[in-house]
């Protein structure tokens, strides 16, 4: 029985052979996953849909060079992450996430205490994490990537991923409880 990963790899091979409809299957399978990825990183729905399209266009450009050495999802999220970083640069950090994000340093963490006691929902709380922490939480909690895979996507050591996860969960605890 072919799992999702095998189907994706096969579809990428077919796309490389010029079968664009096969690529459409990948889009159908992953569009909602990517939409939620971008949404939880802080994009509104319209921007998230644009970013989903952008990621798939980039993926298609990789069709001849793609080698299934890792899980397809890991590769897809790497491209999605790059699309997100490019978007942030292009938007000159104007989206609201970056305007009220919590930085990782202790001084900024003191500001977090102002939020405590206020009822925040999960999305509000996520938005108050730094971009780096949020990416770790989103990839692990909502997309099931393990720490090694997250390290590959974000291009950081596995140990850093784990530390960021710990710090992020502590901040979220303050914000949610």
């Amino acid at each position: 029985m072919a799992d999702s990963n095998e189907l994706d790899i096969r579809a990428m091979q077919l796309a490389a052979d010029g079968r664009i409809e096969a690529f459409g299957e990948i889009v159908g399978r992953h569009q909602n996953v990517l939409l939620n990825f971008f949404r939880r990183l802080g994009a509104d729905t319209d921007r998230a849909e644009d970013l989903v399209q952008e990621t798939f266009v980039r993926l298609y450009q990789w069709r001849n060079r793609y080698r299934p050495s890792a899980k397809f999802n890991t590769f897809l999220f790497t491209l999605a992450r790059h699309a997100w970083v490019d978007f942030l640069r292009k938007e000159a950090r104007t989206i609201k996430v970056t305007s009220n994000e919590i930085s990782e340093d202790a001084e900024a963490r003191d500001d977090t205490s102002a939020e405590v006691g206020r009822h925040l929902d999960v999305m509000d709380a996520l938005e108050r994490l730094s971009d780096k922490m949020r990416a770790v939480v989103v990839l692990n909690v909502y997309h099931g990537l393990n720490y090694r895979e997250i390290g590959e996507v974000l291009d950081i050591p596995e140990g850093t991923v784990k530390s960021r996860m710990f710090q992020a969960l502590r901040l979220l605890r303050e914000l949610l409880e």
Partner: protein, 424 residues
């Protein structure tokens, strides 16, 4: 708040995310047993992680496949030096857009109303049986399902197996496979009575497995399981929080929420119906907890004070089902009003997707509400789910989990089991 060294932070992260191997986990749990503060830290971070999982997935407003492929084709055409083709395509697109605008201006296309049915339409039954066949084709010899191999998370495997058992019990012709599934679940009961102990969502697992096994005992006539099921009911009673609800894990410090509570209440109801150990007082407190979550405008909150989730159709569907089971007449009236509102909401927004978990509770609430007017809506929602069923290939009969709420947690076995249950 303790400042843990970086290696301890890493180990806590690994444990909370369920990423440790068995040997590491055993060592870590030994440390936890001897360090109350560390235990508190780990428990609270685990609860935070579980809270995050309750944020529901959203879907794209439209299928983006065509947009993406059009963009790729346009890029290809431009790259190949066929800029003129790109311009022609653009003109054509504008023309199509104008035609679409014309039809839009004419008003929505009305579809013929569904024929009125008082039961599940035959084609829905066929679709439900097809979903069960996928489940049985992919059932392991020992009666379990490999949740992780089909895109789910191992920590919810017991609950997912419980849902698959519920699905097989809802349709005729799967007695042998259902019996194997029930026996496999019973074999996973720990000494304290819990199904799925030691996982981050043990009460979810336990509640779902208990409901499924109590139904299985009655429907399949399972022999020699009564004591085990009594033990399971006792576990639910012991796990009840002081506020009357249940949280993700056993213990008085766990935070109660509706999503976990609704399964324990179902299990206690099922136990009472099948003559198991009496837990009337516990059930009464559970029902009172659900009533306490009803807002002034008759919506269900996820937990006391509405922390975390906000409103959703799924919560209202769970709540309506619970309230309709209540002995209190006022609560039942609220449940009926809530259910009627859900039907209206979906009837007005006929293109709104119904997720199978929500439909599971809507179907049950509909049975209790006895609203014949809802039958047509229920069948339409069932049809929209059946339309999403995989029609070809090795996974035919199943439901693609990446399009389903909570699909990223339960995987294909979960999505398909919910489909099969919703179609009955």
């Amino acid at each position: 708040m303790t400042d843990y060294p970086s290696d301890m932070q890493e180990r806590i992260s690994e444990y909370v995310s369920g990423c440790m191997n068995p040997a590491e986990q055993e060592n870590f749990e030994r440390e936890l047993a001897g360090d109350a503060e560390l235990r508190r830290e780990v428990d609270s971070l685990t609860r935070v992680r579980m809270r995050l999982l309750e944020d529901p997935d959203k879907k794209t407003g439209r299928d983006l496949t065509r947009d993406v492929l059009d963009r790729i084709r346009a890029d290809n055409a431009r790259d190949a030096g066929y800029g003129w083709l790109y311009r022609v395509a653009a003109v054509l697109l504008v023309a199509v857009g104008l035609v679409a605008l014309y039809f839009y201006a004419r008003g929505p296309i009305r579809t013929m109303p569904d024929c009125t049915r008082r039961s599940v339409a035959p084609e829905m039954e066929v679709a439900g049986i097809s979903a069960c066949k996928w489940l049985t084709r992919n059932q392991s010899n020992d009666g379990t399902w490999d949740t992780a191999a089909y895109g789910g998370r191992p920590e919810v495997a017991v609950g997912v197996d419980g849902l698959a058992l519920l699905a097989l019990l809802e349709h005729d012709g799967f007695r042998e496979q259902a019996t194997r599934a029930a026996r496999a679940l019973l074999a996973r009961q720990s000494d304290d009575g819990c199904f799925g102990a030691g996982t981050l969502a043990s009460m979810y697992n336990h509640g779902i497995a208990s409901v499924a096994l109590l139904k299985a005992e009655r429907k399949l006539g399972l022999q020699g399981v009564s004591a085990k099921l009594d033990k399971a009911v006792c576990y639910i009673v012991r796990a009840q929080a002081p506020d009357g609800g249940w949280g993700y894990c056993f213990g008085k410090k766990t935070t109660s929420n509706l999503a976990v509570t609704v399964w324990q209440v179902q299990a206690l109801k099922e136990a009472a119906a099948s003559g198991h150990i009496g837990a009337a007082a516990c059930l009464k407190r559970g029902m009172a907890y659900v009533r306490s979550l009803v807002s002034e405008d008759n919506h269900l909150q996820y937990m006391a004070g509405d922390r975390g989730m906000g409103r959703s159709s799924g919560l209202d569907a769970m709540g309506a089902y619970c309230l309709l089971m209540d002995m209190d007449a006022e609560a039942r009236a609220k449940g009926a009003a809530m259910f009627a509102r859900l039907v209206d909401t979906y009837a007005v927004n006929s293109d709104r997707a119904v997720d199978p978990y929500c439909l599971f509770f809507l179907v049950r609430a509909g049975r209790l509400a006895g609203l014949s007017a809802a039958e047509r809506s229920l069948n339409r929602w069932r049809r929209s789910l059946a339309d999403a069923q995989v029609a070809l290939g090795p996974d035919h009969g199943s439901l693609n989990y990446w399009n389903v709420n909570r699909g990223n947690v339960g995987g294909r076995v979960y999505a398909t089991a919910m489909l099969a249950v919703a179609l009955q």
